[in-house]
């Protein structure tokens, strides 16, 4: 009887949990991203040009509907059109190498935000030039400390891929992608193209914003003045989240990045993050193992105390036990043959 109550309790708990989980998954709202940072940072260390971008995950924003451990994200960052740096365009940007950093841990990110409200700081930074770059640097150095390097692999076709198996919620995701400087060409506002040493020189002069997040940033170069002439038209930044059941497209019309020290330091020309969120089965696997454990206990107990499982209420259990008995019998017969 003890086993019966134990097994039934396990099944009951699993049933409750299963119903809630399925209901939650069926009622998935389409998550949206309301914060998107970047590609905000363009750095240069003499060998590589760095780009950083970051966003708050929809898991955080639409968290009630999503349990992080059920999903994996595949992110793909592409830079087909290059990016502008201080009015000069780096193009084409061939990403032969990507290093992706991820501030993914909810608790860490939560702690971070309590200490440095980075999302609001970043938001203010975009909109409010009075926000000092020092504050941003403090916040980003914190990000740097907490970030974990998750993927560092050569990318083909100018893209970076990152797949995250989630067992905790990614709240803030930051990427750093880097491209070898010798493969980068720079296009200025008049359309002149610079490569090799010339391009490198422009990079050294113009890529000035000292993001500490960048792993090997080369000292702080002198801030460059705001560019003369027309500002390049931003191409929309598109973030696409595709799920088997839903496709969410969040578009932004690009960012004009302003700081008190650097003036206009860059604008995103074209950046695309394709994130495939697929329901993970981890939770359902764990749930089914609980169900199996409950069933195993009940089947075992029913063979020992069949009297406790009489009546229509336990017909299903007797049926399962009879199937298992049949299987065992057939194995036995095979053995005898």
């Amino acid at each position: 009887m003890l086993l019966k109550v134990l097994g039934l309790s396990l099944l009951l708990i699993a049933l409750i949990l299963g119903v809630i989980m399925v209901a939650v998954d069926l009622k998935q709202a389409e998550p949206e991203i309301d914060f998107f940072y970047g590609p905000t940072s363009v750095g240069y260390d003499g060998r590589y040009v760095y780009f950083m971008l970051g966003f708050r995950t929809p898991f955080y924003l639409e968290s009630p509907q999503v349990r992080a451990s059920m999903y994996s994200i595949a992110l793909r960052a592409e830079y087909p059109g290059g990016a502008y740096v201080t009015g000069a365009r780096i193009s084409p940007l061939e990403l032969s190498e990507c290093t992706l950093y991820l501030v993914y841990d909810f608790l860490k990110a939560n702690t971070l935000e309590q200490r440095y409200p980075i999302s609001s700081m970043m938001g203010h930074f975009f909109e409010n030039p009075l926000f000092s770059s020092r504050d941003i640097n403090i916040a980003l150095s914190e990000v740097s400390r907490l970030a974990e390097e998750r993927v560092s692999r050569p990318a083909r076709g100018g893209s970076c891929n990152l797949t995250i198996g989630l067992d905790s919620i990614p709240r803030l995701v930051f990427f750093v992608a880097r491209a070898p400087a010798d493969k980068v060409s720079v296009v200025d506002n008049q359309g002149r193209v610079y490569t090799g040493e010339e391009a490198r020189k422009i990079l050294e002069e113009s890529v000035g914003f000292p993001y500490l997040f960048l792993p090997v940033y080369n000292a702080s170069p002198a801030p460059s003045p705001a560019p003369a002439g027309p500002t390049p038209t931003p191409v929309p930044v598109t973030v696409t989240f595709t799920r088997p059941t839903a496709t969410i497209v969040v578009s932004s019309s690009g960012y004009r990045l302003t700081s008190t020290t650097n003036g206009i330091i860059g604008e995103a020309l074209s950046l695309r993050i394709v994130s495939t969120i697929e329901p993970g089965l981890y939770e359902y696997w764990r749930l089914s193992s609980i169900v199996l454990a409950g069933l195993a206990i009940l089947v075992y107990d029913s063979t020992r105390n069949p009297g406790a499982y009489e009546g229509r209420r336990y017909a299903w259990l007797r049926w399962i036990a009879s199937i298992l008995g049949t299987l065992r019998g057939s194995r036995g017969q095979r053995g005898r043959r």
């Binding site: 109550v5 309790s9 699993a14 409750i16 809630i20 955080y60 764990r286 609980i290």
Partner: protein
Amino acid sequence: MRGRLQHRLRELPVIAPPRVASHVSYIVERNSGVYLGIALGASLPLAIFMTLVFPPQIDLLILLVVFMSFIISILAGFMASAAAGEIESGETLLYLSTPLSKAEYYYSWIFSTTVMFTAIYSLGFVVPLIVVSPRSIATLEISGALIAVTLQLLYHTVIFSSAAVTLKSRTRVIGFITGFLLILPVSSLIVLALLEAVSDIYISDEAFVWIFGLYYPSFIFFFKEPNMTTGNLAQEAMLVLTVFAALFIASRRYVKRRMEV
């Protein structure tokens, strides 16, 4: 010396585990609805919390677990009072007319109320955690909180079921539970606060925690500074085990000499 020891051993009530197990099965069978209700009651809020209230706030989760343990303690008290009801109505005589001894009767009630109750309740919160967020169990806050409330539930159920068998009246048992869970803790705090206000006696926060911990041992884990440490958990366990040992010794003497049905 040896003679006295033998005499003492003869004095101890004889307990046959198979008979206890058989009676426990009977009690559980009769009250299986209550146990399943406990499993449901414990797991439902947690399941909802873990799946809907996301990202999980550990503080809220702990608060929920503690609150649920309080509710379950009250339910356990009512469950234990069923033993008193049996004795009160004379139903116990029926069981004792079988080979079941008084001690076996007593301990089977204690077992079915405490161990089974606690086990089912623990399943109710451990299973949702394992399924939804297994990593959280590895944190001291969560695992410590689970152990602390489990110990508290054991503590309450042992005391309540002992009281039920001793008081032999359902009304008195319910009165005892109300007094133990609500009236005594609050009145103790009021008395201490008044004492501190009208005299020069200083009562430290730790003393408050320990006094409240006598009624709710998990308070030692949660509120004794520095809070939520393994040291606090060990102290709570020591308190619970000491009370268990005292109750066990007292119960054996009681069952042998004074228990009447």
